[in-house]
Symmetry: C2
Subunit: 573 residues, 2 copies
């Protein structure tokens, strides 16, 4: 008979209490963070920021040498250009797909047999190593996504790292729910009354699905990339990371860090590989069409997302997608107009609305709303919100630290097209998107948020995702209609976020009902330093999987439970 | 501010300890059963069997009146004919699909808002009610599937009920892992050193996916139907049960029982509806093409299963499928030849091999195997296994209690075609499938297992599922080749079960490795009263989801975790 042994590794002891603490935090869903979000030298050490910038700059204008040991086809790719202007000039070795898949599959058995706890400890060691490179990654994220620096540090650094750890412990807990071995005794008596119980030993072995593919996006390469990466890795699956061709460097650094830790921990670095591609190459499709790929995590446009889901179903792949939606705010009334306007203006301005969580549709009754500053008409509310945005983004030098730079031509065209959009929609431009000059980067295209008012009957306009600094103020007959439109449009078109402002308990209750029906998380009366576009790892789910915007959530049990399977062996004892 | 309240119901108190006990058993994965498998009057009461038979007979030759309150289109369907001969003559109201969907959706909110624990208690009450109808259901299963009576009682009764309870508590545990409400406090200090912590209340609301569809199969309508039915129901989703047109009655009785309990418990019976169809109507496809359907559980052929998976991906449906595979036995050596042969013969004979878990491919080295009765050549082993089957099934009156009746023409054609199959495969008929006369049912077509020997190079023959009383004895160069073929064919074609016989620890280890690679559960050296085709609820997973035979397992966390979603609402406090 075999005896189930628990594999061990020096990193298990090192990280045991951290893993247990994080697992407890995830179960409690209260506040928890391992990685400090403050970029202050008091936290990350004197000179950390400067060293990170130097490390970033050392990558520029040359091949990313540390990844040269991946199975390559001898060519290189890479033509990233910073939304702030400069070309990065980094080139990456281009994978030989067959070789990469073979290497990943060869690396699988030892990783599988290491067991869940060893894998989790190694994964945490990777995230710790990534954390040490937060400033380097912040620069890389800033210059590929256009995020302003502090946001690039926080969202792509510690916040993404906390999401990674959340994935790791979610996967660990899920695997550890399966006992390694049990004695199964079915009671029985023979006809003579003697014991005729049946005894079996049953061993339950966690096995990975196989090769996992992570398809990164342009705007949040690490924040949206890590959950799938670490959920797959901790459950035993080798991962190929296919970054967006315009946001390779942040994931290259992350993969590099992962491979270094894996190598030092005695595992095959082929467990994590970077599949950089030339723009337009279609490498994600090439990889998704390989039957060896068993899991796909994708963030990006709905067209390719839908293709991945259908292609994946035909191949038996697990496919997790985050696509697009129409994030919604319902404004009914407030006892803190100033706080409401300030909070909303910040939500719209942050990264120029280029977050998958930025509000797009703000429903306001045409009769206006009651506030602590008296009744405001629809037009007055629009004017006040416009003024709040203008004030927040009025000073160029300060504004760029909030707005960042526009990531691509599509966003820029949206920002420039407000007048035409308003005319087409029979609406009005409440606030045009202002072009902001970046004092340090003259080539950056920076746009402040614009507001277009239109009528609730123009669903043809506002139920399409309009990515970037464009928000619709939608006039409705009543808050009741606002809530009904919220519910129906999110059910049909999806949303990552929703919020409501009301002083009426009845309206808040109705908003909760509408949010439950629509399958979207609701923030209520945010007037302070928490914004609807931000979710906290270990507490807030990102996405729900209950509306078309995303088929999964960061991070619930469903996000990890199917990434591994259990194979039993049983025998009499 | 809202206060999260826990809904309650008289059934919660009634079933609280039973639910907790079952949940603990599921976590431990050791032996557990709520529903006694013995049909003895000492267990189910004097006269229970007779009353069950009478209840079954009372259904015959008339409309199933208790389901007449479903939204119908005014027509009836039903032309079930017992594999034992008699036509059942039961007709069922035919659903009005639009009306049924509307009724289910109208029933959803109250069921959703009842909360997980109330739902679990009501579901357990349903299974208890079904248990009380075990003899009635046993007759119905016998006369729709062809199962022998005792098997119909056990597998379609208590064993299926235990699987149902397993689903219920798996779903309950998964929902209760999500806290109802938490206080989230992010610590912070203002510049003046005062507390600037951010406090939010976050409420987590479990919401169902929406309408669920269960598509039943002909051979195991309840055993394969209940897990999906109760997993969806306990997680808040209304369920439409679409039985196989030749096995309606067992699910009609089950749905009837469910509706009665729901009604008595104060819920809308439209939470569980029966969608009986005429043979060839294609109602499963009609229902699967409705966007209101969010979850599908399917057991049946691989063609329609693949269509459901792809159709479902395009609609964002969750689709759980159990399709077909090539169940495998690897025979290397044994120290208990008699036990091995007896166990294998029983596995092949039970229900004439019409189980999704019956072995199809038995690999034996051409050089033969070592046993406690000396070395047996490949031919000798085949002859001994054939003799064991013949002995087990030699007496017609006793044989029919094990074999049951053949369920359809496809199975009968397979049984009759062994000589042609052997010739085509360049093999030999080791044991022809014997036609057995049923002493009580002259029209029943009863077939004992047949054995065809062929060479391992005839993968074209043995990698196709050959459903029914046909087993291949496959001659290999060595056990090493047996294990390699086992691994490769299961990876490619799937399997629900596998077993190995060997006295060598090295061979058993290699078999475990092959099973892990193939993603199939392994039984080792079964020589007693446990059979490879049987799995025990609460301990053995049925299927793994790790090979093409099934994309899910009864019942792991992944089987339930995605059937509900969590919608958060958060606000400052």
């Amino acid at each position: 008979m075999t005896t189930a042994t628990t594999p061990t590794h020096p990193l298990v002891e090192k990280h045991s209490s951290a893993l247990d603490e994080a697992a407890a935090a995830l179960a409690a869903r209260s506040y928890y963070s391992r990685y400090p979000e403050s970029p202050s030298p008091r936290v990350y050490g004197e000179g950390a920021a400067e060293r990170g910038t130097a490390a970033y700059e050392a990558h520029l204008q040359k091949p990313y040498a540390a990844l040269a040991d991946q199975p390559g086809d001898g060519t290189t790719v890479g033509d990233e250009v910073s939304p702030y202007g400069p070309a990065l000039g980094v080139t990456y070795p281009h994978l030989d797909v067959d070789g990469a898949i073979a290497a990943a599959e060869a690396a699988l058995p030892a990783w599988r047999d290491a067991g869940a706890r060893v894998r989790a400890a190694v994964c945490l060691e990777i995230v710790d190593a990534i954390n040490q490179r937060s400033f380097e990654i912040a620069n890389a994220v800033m210059h590929t996504t256009g995020q302003p620096f502090v946001m690039a540090f926080q969202a792509a650094g510690p916040h993404a790292q906390d999401r990674a750890l959340e994935s790791i412990v979610a996967g660990l807990v899920e695997q550890e729910r399966v006992p390694g071995s049990v004695l199964w005794v079915k009671p029985g008596r023979a006809k003579d009354g003697s014991d005729a119980s049946i005894r079996m030993q049953k061993d339950y072995r966690v096995v990975p699905r196989g090769l996992a593919l992570v398809i990164g996006c342009n705007t949040f390469p690490t924040w949206n990339g890590y959950p799938g990466l670490f959920a797959s890795l901790v459950t035993g699956n080798p991962v190929v990371v296919k970054p967006h061709p315009r946001a390779v460097l942040p994931l290259a650094i992350s993969v590099d860090a992962a491979r270094s830790v894996l190598r030092e921990a005695g595992f095959d670095p082929a467990l994590v590989q970077l599949a950089a591609e030339a723009d337009g190459e279609g490498l994600a499709k090439t990889l998704a069409e390989r039957d060896e790929v068993r899991i796909i995590d994708y963030t990006g446009g709905p067209g390719f997302g839908a293709w991945l889901e259908e292609n994946g179903a035909a191949r038996g792949q697990l496919v997790y997608t985050e696509k697009a939606g129409v994030n919604t705010v319902v404004v009914d009334s407030t006892d803190n107009l100033r706080g409401t306007l300030g909070n909303l203006a910040f939500s719209l301005a942050l990264y120029s609305g280029q977050m998958c969580t930025t509000p797009q549709n703000i429903y306001v009754p045409r009769d206006g709303i009651d506030t602590d500053e008296g009744h405001l008409s629809f037009e007055e509310f629009g004017a006040r919100l416009g003024a709040a945005v203008s004030k927040l983004t009025g000073d160029d030098a300060r504004a760029v630290e909030l707005l960042g730079a526009t990531v691509n031509e599509g966003v820029r065209a949206s920002a420039r097209g407000l007048a035409a959009l308003a005319e087409e929609a029979g609406g009005t431009v409440v606030l045009d998107s202002r072009s902001v000059s970046h004092p340090a980067y003259p080539d950056a295209v920076v746009q402040a948020p614009g507001l277009v008012a239109l009528d609730a009957n123009r669903e043809d306009v506002y139920t399409q995702e309009c990515f970037g600094p464009v928000t619709f103020l939608i006039g409705t007959a009543s808050t009741q209609q606002s809530l009904a439109q919220f519910r129906d449009t999110v059910r049909e078109h999806g949303a990552m976020t929703a919020s409501v402002y009301s002083t009426q308990e009845g309206v808040l209750d109705a908003a909760r009902e509408a949010a439950a029906d629509a399958g979207v998380a609701l923030s209520e009366n945010l007037t302070g330093p928490v914004f609807v576009n931000q979710t906290a790892a270990f507490s807030d789910y990102h996405g729900t999987g209950a509306n078309p915007a995303a088929n999964a959530a960061y991070v619930d049990a469903a996000f990890v439970a199917s990434r591994f399977r259990v194979v039993t062996s049983r025998r009499h004892v």
